[in-house]
Assembly symmetry: C2
Homo-oligomer: 243 residues x 2
């Protein structure tokens, strides 16, 4: 049991939750390593939502609200860490939620679906088809979900899949703490923030912004601005870290 | 099977090797997350041995060679990634090798011992006693090993244990890619380099330096110089990473 006043409480709870989910087969061993990379970048960015990330969260909300068919693509790590936050965002954005896994097995899809449903998420179901321009089984997705979406939120996505979605002409919103990752560079918009801060941030923005503000936000700085801002934050943080 | 010409070959092979060792109980789930943090910092430092790290590796070699009783403390991640490199370093430095685990069970100690021995490492054995100023079972070590050592190389060590060894008056050489970690700040000398580059680097230095050069090296810059140099490398790398 981790004491609630431990200075690393949030981080330790997340790590413990992921390890428990790995034991159950919900999170992959590769997913644990990926989480470690995210932890390092979160540390470097100061474990807080930066001003530029907050702006990105507002633009992400505007993109979801103005979409014809918004879809949130959920993997094991996302379900393990943020099922409740996903329920909130689905309510605020009316997005469909599809379970889409890099290491896909029907058993994992079912386990993750159950975690999401227990948290109140309505999960899209159906027969997955090889519809993405990727090698099987990574090409699998639902025709009524990711394949038909015009705007997709991909928290913690792999670079190849992000690129494939963009190549299909979709607007892709990534949540990625590494501003240098292929996902971060490829996405239409990257929210450089930690998942359990970013999702509620987008949810709040969905509830706050009106259509006029949404239109203004959509004309905001492009993705490279947000990546550069995140890099500057990290550099600034490092400059004084050893003082 | 990862193709040898994949741009991320080394990194992917290491990750796969750790996942395999996690399935066998050699590496812990926490160890996988820790590896991910290391990956992120290695990425930021350019996945190469920097000039300052190379100097640190030479000083580490001089410290091991001039020690009365040098010991290398090995955990699951280190054994999984670098058993062969440890055999090389043991040969060049005549250090004792002790298996010392944060999540200690006799079963894990035995498995890790077998991995090391298959790679040609001579592993110190005996009855572990609670000799370190830490809560049980993290206090366990061998009287003829870590407890009696004057100089200890701890690749990938936990901050608490590094501090405990320093408090016992030992010279502690850490290998740690995060120049801000408690281990990196606490150690007598921190080699900010990736394990499978750092260990062979120290081995080569053991074979190259003569006693006179060794004495000169021991008067070299102190640990804070190496931490600051690593931070400057990361900041420099970030400055141009998005160009």
């Amino acid at each position: 049991m981790i004491p609630a006043d431990h200075p690393r409480y949030r981080s330790l709870v997340a790590r413990e939750r992921l390890a428990a989910c790995a034991r159950e087969g919900v999170v992959t061993l590769e997913g644990l390593t990926a989480h470690g990379r995210g932890e390092a970048f979160d540390y470097l960015i100061g474990e807080r939502t930066t001003e530029s990330a907050l702006l990105a969260e507002h633009i992400a909300a505007a993109m979801l609200l103005s979409a014809r068919l918004p879809v949130i693509s959920v993997n094991g790590n996302t379900a393990a860490l943020a099922a409740a936050a996903l329920a909130g965002l689905q309510g605020a954005s009316r997005a469909r939620v599809e379970v889409n896994l890099f290491h896909r097995t029907e058993e994992r899809v079912e386990k993750i679906t159950r975690i999401l449903e227990s948290a109140g998420v309505e999960v899209l179901k159906g027969r997955a088809e090889p519809l993405l321009p990727l090698s099987h089984p990574r090409a699998l997705c639902l025709r009524e979900g990711i394949f038909s979406a015009d705007t997709i939120l991909v928290p913690l996505e792999d670079g190849d899949r992000c690129a494939a979605l963009v190549a299909m002409g979709k607007r892709v919103i990534a949540i990625d703490l590494n501003p240098l990752s292929r996902t971060a560079r490829t996405a239409t918009l990257t929210v450089v923030d930690e998942l359990t801060r970013a999702l509620p941030g987008i949810t709040r923005a969905c509830r706050e912004i009106d259509p006029e503000e949404g239109e203004r936000l959509m004309k905001s700085p492009d993705n490279s601005y947000f990546l550069r801002a995140a890099m500057d934050e990290i550099r600034g943080h490092l400059e004084h870290a050893l003082d």
